[in-house]
């Protein structure tokens, strides 16, 4: 069988440059999960219908399953792990935990990323704006209520007490 063409990409992920050898048709999702160790980015449907794979690409929330790895070459990607650590969690992560916005947790990584994208652009979102911002992220467990409340709380915390 003819060997398929591959290319090397360099992607800036959560603050560091990482390299991977990728196929032309390979998605960013696949490369993040299978080649770069970023299993926090989830595959829920593989075709942009669920948002579980949401990452920030140059600051904008996108479906990693709808982005070719090659399209992320030289670009900046942030996943949920890049937002906070156990020692210094992001206020969004903290609010999600404290407000019970996480049940099975499978949607959480993508959900938090979409929320981060929102708050970076709009630090004082209305409830409607929050609902709209996460309307590409499906959740089967929570009914979204506590997720919306957690985002509201995190927005408030960031406005009143922003950490560097």
């Amino acid at each position: 069988m003819k060997k398929d063409q591959t290319y090397w990409v360099k992607i800036h992920i959560n603050g560091e440059w990482k390299r991977a050898e990728v196929f032309p048709e390979e998605t960013l999702l696949h490369v993040l999960r299978e080649k770069l160790g970023h299993t926090e980015v989830k595959e829920g449907c593989g075709k942009g219908d669920c948002g579980a794979c949401a990452v920030l690409l140059n600051g904008e929330p996108v479906n990693a399953c709808l982005t070719l790895a090659l399209q992320a070459d030289q670009q900046k990607v942030v996943t949920v792990r890049g937002l906070g650590t156990p020692d210094r969690p992001h206020p969004l992560q903290e609010s999600f935990v404290k407000r019970g916005a996480i049940q099975c947790g499978f949607c959480s990584a993508g959900m938090i990323v979409s929320a981060k994208g929102l708050l970076d652009k709009n630090p004082k979102p209305s409830r409607e704006e929050i609902k709209r911002a996460i309307s590409g992220n499906l959740c089967r467990c929570t009914g979204y209520q506590k997720i919306i409340e957690a985002i509201e709380e995190a927005a408030y915390k960031l406005r009143t007490d922003p950490k560097p």
Partner: protein, 285 residues
């Protein structure tokens, strides 16, 4: 399969020509990647044009708006210019897909993919936009958008041609517009039907009407006969009933998993009347 990442537009066009239809241009990829996954397309190579910044613009000129083909749907949705001068397009952009998809999908891709339910098409039809196309070794050409679509996923684009920009006249301050997308849920919904309406009114007298419809025919369409019925007429309930009937006759919907053709037909009629009322009589939708 292989990929090309040309640095310049000229190289991209040369590659497109050389590919003879086997090389497919990819920008946002929000339709193309699922198609690839479903094996609905099997290109020999991609030509990745996603990073051509010079094709992403919203330019306001004296009388016209020009939108670069690679302008993302989010940019359209967030643009004050579009909201001011092409409100139905702004509204459609806000409801296309979902926010994650909107950050990648482009107006050029939406039109070139040419789904009968393409969300940006009905507003562009009502705005009487022109699609400017380019290819290697020939001058740019443009075609009116109501001539652009030929069938489901079929357009006038030659296989070595790509969309450069979309141009339309700014909506006059005398014109009123409306837009409605009917879907089975409030986000991530493929249109059951969509309507974009532009009316130039003098009180309740309609001087000009443009109606763009989506998901009710093999391609997005204008409802010419219904437009004519409204032109130079006083808008009355009786006229509305007649319009509601005529538009049913103009469309050619199918039944699919989302809706039956009977329902689509009924909805175009009902919602068109509603939108006209909204504009003519200042009624809330």
């Amino acid at each position: 399969m292989d990929t090309y990442r040309p640095q310049h537009l000229k190289s991209a066009l040369q590659l497109l020509k050389a590919g003879k239809g086997r090389y497919l241009m990819i920008a946002g990829g929000t339709n193309m990647i699922p198609d690839l996954r479903a094996k609905a397309i099997r290109p020999k190579a991609f030509i990745d044009i996603s990073r051509f910044k010079n094709l992403s613009y919203i330019k306001e000129e004296k009388k016209e708006i020009r939108i670069g083909a690679l302008t993302t749907i989010s940019k359209l949705a967030d643009s004050n210019t579009i909201q001011l001068f092409a409100l139905p397009l702004s509204q459609a952009a806000q409801q296309l897909g979902n926010p994650l998809v909107r950050n990648r999908a482009t107006i050029g891709g939406n039109l070139a993919d040419a789904s009968p339910a393409a969300d940006t098409a009905p507003p562009l039809l009502a705005l009487e936009a022109r699609v400017v196309m380019m290819r290697e070794g020939a001058k740019e050409r443009s075609v009116a958008i109501d001539q652009f679509f030929l069938g489901p996923n079929q357009t006038r684009l030659r296989r070595d041609e790509m969309i450069k920009e979309i141009i339309f006249s700014k909506v006059s301050p005398h014109a009123k517009t409306a837009y409605f997308k009917l879907g089975l849920r409030n986000s991530m919904a493929i249109s059951i039907i969509s309507i974009a309406l532009l009316l130039e009114m003098e009180g309740t007298f309609c001087k000009k009407a443009r109606i763009g419809l989506g998901a009710v025919a093999p391609f997005p369409m204008r409802a010419y006969r219904t437009e004519e019925m409204l032109t130079e007429e006083e808008v009355t309930e009786r006229l509305l009933e007649a319009c509601g009937q005529t538009v049913r006759e103009e469309i050619d919907p199918i039944s699919d998993i989302r809706a039956s053709k009977e329902y689509r037909t009924e909805m175009v009629s009902v919602l068109l009347k509603r939108l006209i009322r909204q504009i003519a009589f200042q009624q809330p939708v």
